[in-house]
Amino acid sequence: MRKFGFYPKLAARSLRLNGKFYLPYLLSGVVSAAMLYDILFLNMNRGVYAMKGANAVQGLLGFGALVVAIFSFALICYTNGFLMKRRQKELGLYNILGMEKRHMARLLLWETVYSALICILGGILVGILLSKLFLLLLCLVIQADVVFGFEVPAEALAYTAAAFGAIFLLNYLLNLLRLNRVKPIELLKGTESGEREPRTKWVLAALGLITMGAGYFLSIAVSDPLQAMMLFFIAVLLVIVGTYCLFTAGSIALLKALRKNKKYYYQTRHFTAISGMLHRMKRNAAGLATICILSTMVLITVSTTVCLYMGVNDILDQMYCRDVQTYVNHGAPEDLPKVKALYERKAAELGMEMKDFAALCFYAPATAYANNRTRIDPYLAQANGSDVVGDPNDGPMRVYVGCNLPADADASLFAASVEVGTRDLDLSSNWCFTDDCRAGRTDFWASLGGFFFIGLFLGALFLMAAVLIVYYKQISEGYEDARSFVIMQQVGMRSAEVKSSIRSQISLVFFLPLLAAACHTAGAFPMTRRILLLFGLSNTGLFVLCSGLTLLIFALVYYGIYRLTAREYYRIVRR
C-alpha cells in the first residue's frame, strides 16, 4: 500500500531537483505577488485616502493594480510553459516506470500547490515588509505629509491571494491539458527532434514593414497634441504588430541573406552563430520581439513619467502663476475692469491683502494644453502700462486677472467667492474660470507624483519580465546547444573559439532587442513629446535628457543581465 504523502514528497523533491529552473520562476512569482499586494495596500490605505489630491492617486493606483495582475498572469503562464517543456523527459520517464496520467496529474497538483503557497505567502510577506517603504516613497513623490502607523489591510491580502490563486489554478488546468495531449514516447524524446528550416515569409516581412512604418509615420506626422494622445495607442499597436512580423520574417530574411554571402558566412565566428540563429529563429523571434516590446515599454513609461516629474515646477509655473487667478477666454477689453473691480471688492470684503496683482488682456492661441492656461509672465513683461498685449493674429483675446495672497489667507475661500462673483458680471464670454492655485498645485503634485510612482513601479515589473524571459531563453538554448558544441569540439574547435562563438551568438540575441527598443523609443519621441505638451511640459531638452538617461541606465542593467546569463549559458554548454 502506498503511504499517504507520496505525491507531496515527490513533488517537493522534483521542485528541489529542478531548482535552477524553478528558482527564477518562484522568485518572479514572489516579486509580482509582493508588487500586487503593495499597490493594493497603497490603494486601500486610509492614510492615502486622507491625503490631498488623493482621488487622482487612487485612480492611478487602481489602474496600476489591474496592470500588475494581468501582467503577472501572462508572465507566470509563459514561464510555466517553459518549465513544462523542460520537464517532459522526466514526466515521460515516470510514465514508462508505471505512473499513470492521473498520478502525474496529482504530482503536478502538489507542485502547483507548493508553488502557489510559496508565491502567495512569500509575496505577501515581502509585500508587507516593503509596504511601509512604498508608502513613504509615495508620500515623498506626491509631496504629501508622511502617514504614520502600520497597517495590513485584509482586503489587500484577500485580493492578492485570490488573484494568484486563480493564476496558479489556471496554470494547473493548462498543464493538465498539455499532459493529456502527449504520448509517453514523445514525452521521452522531448525537444530533440530536428526542426525544419524556416522559409522566408516575404508577405509577413512586408506587412511588418508597412505596420511599423505606419506607426512611425503617425508618431512623426501628427502635430496636434490632442490627436497625438488619441492616436498614441493605435501607433503603439501598429508598432507591436510590426515588431512581431519583422522579428519573425525579417530576421530570417536577413540571416539568409548573410548566409548567401559566402565570404562572410564561412568564418568561424559567423558560421555557427548564423546557422544556429537561423535554425531556431522560428521560436526565437517571438521571444526576441517580446523582449523588445517590454524594453520599449520600460523606456517610454519611465522616461515620460520621470520627465513629467522633473518638469513639474515648470508646468506649475505655467499653469498657476498666482495664488488665485481668473481667465476669460474669447473675452474683450471691457471685461478687464469688471474682473479687476470684482477682485478688489472681494479682497476688501474678506479682509485679505492682494499682492503681485496682475491684470491684462492678451492675444494667444486657444489650446487644450494645460487646460487652457498660459504662461502669463512674458505677456506681463511686454505690457509696459498698456492693458492689451500681443498680436490679434495669434488667436482670440484672453483676459487674465490674478493675485497672490498672504500665506495665512484662505485662498480657496477667496477663489470661491470670486468664482461666484464672476457669474453676475455680464462678461462678453461664458468661458470664464477661476482657479484656487494653491489647491491646484497640490492636486497636480499628487497626480504627477502618482504618475511617476506608477511609472517606476510598472517599469520595474516590465524589466523583471524582460529579465526572466531572457534568462529562460538562454538557459533553454544552452541545453539545446550543448550537443552541438561537443560535436564542434570533436571536429576541431578550440575552447577559445567556442567561447567567442557563444559570445557572438548571445550578444546578437541580447542586443538586437535592445537596439530595436532604443529605435522605437526614438521613433515614439515626437509623439510622446506632443503628449507631454498636453500636460504643459514644453521643455524638450529635459525630455531628451530624461530619455537618454533612462536608456543609459536600462542598457547598463541589461548588460548586467547579459553577463550573468552568458556565464550560465557557457557553464551549461561546456559540460
Binding site: S193, G194, E195, R196, E197, K262, K263, Y266, Q267, T268, F271, S275, G276, L278, H279, R280, S484, I487, M488, Q489, Q490, V491, G492, M493, R494, E497
Partner: protein, 257 residues
Amino acid sequence: MPLLEVKNLRKVYTTRLGGTGVEALKNVSFAVEAGEFVAIMGESGSGKTTLLNILAALDRPSGGRVLLNGEDMAGVRERDLTAFRRDNLGFVFQDFNLLDAFTVRDNIFLPLVLAGKAYEEMDRRLQPLAKALGIGDLLNKFPYELSGGQKQRTAVARALITRPAILLADEPTGALDSKASNSLLQNFEALNDQGQTILMVTHSVTAASHAKRTLFLRDGMIYHQLYRGQRTREEMFAEISNTLTVMTAESGEKSHA
C-alpha cells in the same frame, strides 16, 4: 617508418579516492603503415574505446608512446592539440554527430571553416569527395532529411575533407542497417584503394571482414591479428568468427578456473 606506431601503451584509471587502479590497456604495441585498412575488434571492456581515445589525442596514456609520422603525440602541447587533431586525424562516430542546424555542405565544411580556409578552397576539396561518397545531390539538404547511411557518408566526408593522415572510425556501422552498412564499407574499401589509411574500431564481424588486417583486443592486450591477404571476404568473415569464438571460449575458461 610506419605512419602510426603504438609502443608499450598502458592506461590505468584510478578512482578518485586513490584505491586500486583499473588497467584498461596493458602493454599494447602495433604499427599501422600508410595505406592500410585496420580493424580493431574486441568485446566491451576490452580497451577499444580507451585505445581510440588515446589515438585521437582525447586522452593521455599512463605509459608507452604513440608516434604519428614519427612524432610523439605526448610532445604536442595542450593548446596545439585541437589543431593537431584537426590537421592529422579524421573522425567518424557511431551516431554520426552531425549538426542539425547545418546543411550537408556546411556540416562537411565545418572543420575547414574552423581551420580558416577560404571558400573556394573548401569547394574545390568538396566536389571529388562528394562524388566518391555519392552525396553530391544531397549537399543542400539538412541532416533530418537524410537516411542513416547518407548521414554516415556525410560524416565520412566531413572527416576526410581536412585530408587527414588517418581516418579513425568508432563503430561506424553501429547505427546502420545491413544494406547501408555494406555500402559504407565499400566506400571505405574504395577510399583505402585510393591510399587513405583507415583505423576502425568495431564489434561487427562483417565490418571487420572488409579490412585488410584485423587486430583482436582482449583485457587490454593484443590477443591476435589476422591479415586478409588474398582471401575473399567470405573466407575472412569465417576466419574472424572462428578467432572470436576461440577468444571468447578461452576467457570463459579463464574466469571459471
